[in-house]
Point group: C2
């Protein structure tokens, strides 16, 4: 997106003529192909100085407009009205990118951070959304800084409740408490609470402010990519939703102590992924961990989040590079979906861990990942995540799920693979046979591993 600013100084007696012309032309300029915004600003100190501010999809779109009759004629009528030579600039936006988001992320103890936020923004009332888990283990830690008459909304834990029925329950509670547009919602929980609570806030009386307080490792290392709110609908994840920024994100890693070990491990898969695709040094630190109990989350979480934000910053408009984040997810997502129909439960991160082993094998085969690095990745992930009985899953269905993935373009299944640890290459493709071989590698390694833990 290009930001175009044109600074114009008019002869005082010509100002009204320009305003009349602009008001007549603006709707047509605004609807010119590739124009995403148009505004006219007037200098508060010198009312005969004005700027147009417009957003253009590309240099080509801006050029097309500059050569259009609409511009030529408008400019020809504007020129005689100037008191001085106009100035024009084309800008790229350096900040905020989606990565350095347009809202603050605070690390540290949640209670004092929330106390400060509430003091600063003075909402008319405060609601807190929790699930049965965070109601018990997290809510007591922030309760004392909330206004005495805050509204507590409690929903059952789990992705199955991330749906419109639950939203309706949340809204009915807000209605009963007569929350007005100056109210504020605190979403205290994992991804389900954050996505769904954010969506409920976004749609309550056309939008109230909300603060995200992620309490799971997955939500904490993912939170800064934010803005994506929503719920599942008819078994499709996040298909009903909106873009909307929180007032702030508060990340308190002490909440991670309240997680069941499997949940913590699940989120750790994303931490490993961030290291594998972008930070070999961080990977070296991670593999030193004897167990996850030994992890210093106050160091790991901000670091892992920073890696992700860097990647997103390099590709704010999701044009390609950001596909790097798909590493492990192409096969991982398919396994996660397929496992839904079995009796063996599988958390998101557990599926991604399997996906990362398979896709590391593909990396060795197709992107040059050295064999010792493949071994190191496989060994570490199996040590942390154990083995999962993949042979219970229908492989044909798995392949079909991957083929239907929305990230594919044209033929073959699209993969982001590792040329070596700490780097990633996007837009590799693999055949169904190669994918099947990578799954066989996982199963075979598991058979050989003495260290494989029962799942």
């Amino acid at each position: 997106m290009i930001t175009r600013i044109v600074w114009m100084q008019f002869r005082p007696e010509a100002v009204n003529a320009f305003l009349a012309l602009f008001h007549e032309r603006a709707p047509r300029i605004r609807s010119f192909p590739g124009c995403h915004h148009l505004a006219l600003w007037r200098d508060r100190a010198q009312p005969h100085v004005m700027c147009t501010y417009s957003l253009w999809e590309s240099e080509a779109a801006l050029e097309a407009y500059r050569h259009a009759e609409l511009f030529r004629d408008t400019w020809a009528q504007t020129k005689p009205l100037f008191a001085a030579r106009p100035r024009a600039w084309s800008f790229d936006t350096v900040w905020p990118t989606e990565a350095s988001l347009d809202y603050p992320i605070y690390f540290g103890q949640a209670a004092p951070q929330l106390e400060q936020l509430l003091g600063q923004h003075a909402p008319s009332s405060v609601a807190v959304l929790v699930d049965t888990h965070t109601a018990l283990y997290c809510y007591p830690h922030i309760r004392s800084v909330l206004p005495a008459d805050h509204l507590l909304i409690r929903i059952p834990a789990g992705e199955t409740h991330k749906q419109l029925d639950t939203c309706q329950y949340i809204w009915s509670q807000m209605l009963q408490a007569q929350l007005d547009r100056q109210a504020l919602l605190i979403n205290l929980g994992g991804g389900v609470i954050g996505d769904m609570g954010g969506f409920c806030a976004h749609c309550w009386k056309r939008g109230i402010r909300f603060v995200q307080v992620p309490t799971t490792l997955l939500a904490q290392v993912d939170a800064s990519t934010g803005g994506k709110l929503g719920v599942d609908f008819m078994d499709v994840k996040n298909i009903i939703g909106a873009f909307g920024d929180p007032l702030a994100v508060v990340i308190d890693t002490t909440f991670l102590r309240t997680l069941p070990p499997a949940q913590l491990r699940s989120g750790f898969a994303e931490v490993v992924k961030h290291a594998l695709i972008a930070d070999a040094e961080h990977w070296q630190q991670l593999i030193q961990l004897p167990t996850l109990d030994a992890a210093d989350w106050t160091q790991i979480v901000p670091h892992s989040l920073a890696i992700k934000r860097q990647i997103v910053a390099a590709d704010p408009y999701e044009r390609g590079l950001r596909k790097a984040l798909n590493f492990g997810h192409t096969i991982g997502h398919a396994i996660e979906s397929a496992a839904l129909h079995t009796t063996e439960s599988l958390l998101h991160g557990e599926a991604i861990a399997i996906g990362m082993i398979c896709e590391s094998w593909l990396s060795a085969k197709k992107a040059g990942l050295p064999d010792d690095e493949l071994q190191a990745i496989t060994h570490f992930l199996l040590r942390i995540f154990g083995c999962y009985p993949l042979n219970n899953l229908p492989i044909a269905d798995l392949l079909a799920l991957m083929a239907n993935d929305k990230k594919n373009e044209g033929q073959g299944v699209n993969f982001s693979l590792l040329p070596h640890i700490g780097a990633v290459e996007i837009n590799h493709t693999a055949t169904p046979e190669e994918i099947q071989d990578s799954l066989a590698y996982y199963m075979e390694t598991c058979r050989q591993q003495d260290t494989a833990k029962p799942h």
Copy 2:
């Protein structure tokens, strides 16, 4: 809102130092009280030229920031990096105001307008939302310009269907048709279709484009205030919703011929209101109409819409003046709500017509409306709308409904009243007795009127 632009030219070797400083400080500046946006732009032609772009709630907020240690320190560190004197401007936004909205409104035949829009914006697929009425009477007029494989979504007509259940039906149709994010939804119908369809588009895969094609008089003269999307929830109107702009609004007054007479008349109440509060000349034209059949809507609709946009333009942030639009609505809304619980059906505009008569009586009593103007208003509205048996409604409930209106501030019921036809004064208050007297005036006049039509 104040737009602040600071233009800065750096010594080339100092650019990185500034970028590092900015990235560190930006989140804190962005969260400074009263700062609504912050961005850093970089000149595409001269990379050592940058601009900060920020939005501030008020001059006071900007001043507070300029005196804060955060600014002083940031500025002190930035100053030595400059290659030239920086320049700064504070701007007001002239366009778009909420009234000259950030999207085009087209008048004329819907089919060619839509054809042009679809050609220009090339959606991946097109869906059309209709109700049982517009499916029959409006859809055939645009069908020929739609792609052959467009999706038609048909819902029952009426406000009772403006709810989340209907949204779920609409989304299930979109899901079945596999609408992607490049799809476009055309909302063909009255306010229910526009508000609900816009909301469904806003929340489908985090937002697809939509075009409003209002087919009722009420929706057409109200459409330009747009951006307000939503549905009713637990008997509260529009409480679940969002702000979102359509790609365009297409107003085709030939659709008005398809309306049942009562619907047309209902929308006409808003046309009358716009004239009464802001345009005496338009009022003089309206009262010449022998019947609504004689109306030239191609003239009346754009004119009425323009009046409304002017009022909104004068008060884009709803700070006061826009309350002018409440004329007739304080009593009208209460009557509309109370009538829901009776067997006598009452359309929105019919209730507003009664409200305008009562509030004109209050205007004569409290704002100096000349008696002959009160008579003219009463006579014209009764001629068009007939009489409604108000004595069937519980007056005590009516008064309670008005007392609870969200527009009240402090004591007494707030009214916008007419000092004379074509002008309005906001922030009058009236006592329950005065309101009761105004209702008595309506009922008494009806009793005396020979011309009163059976409702």
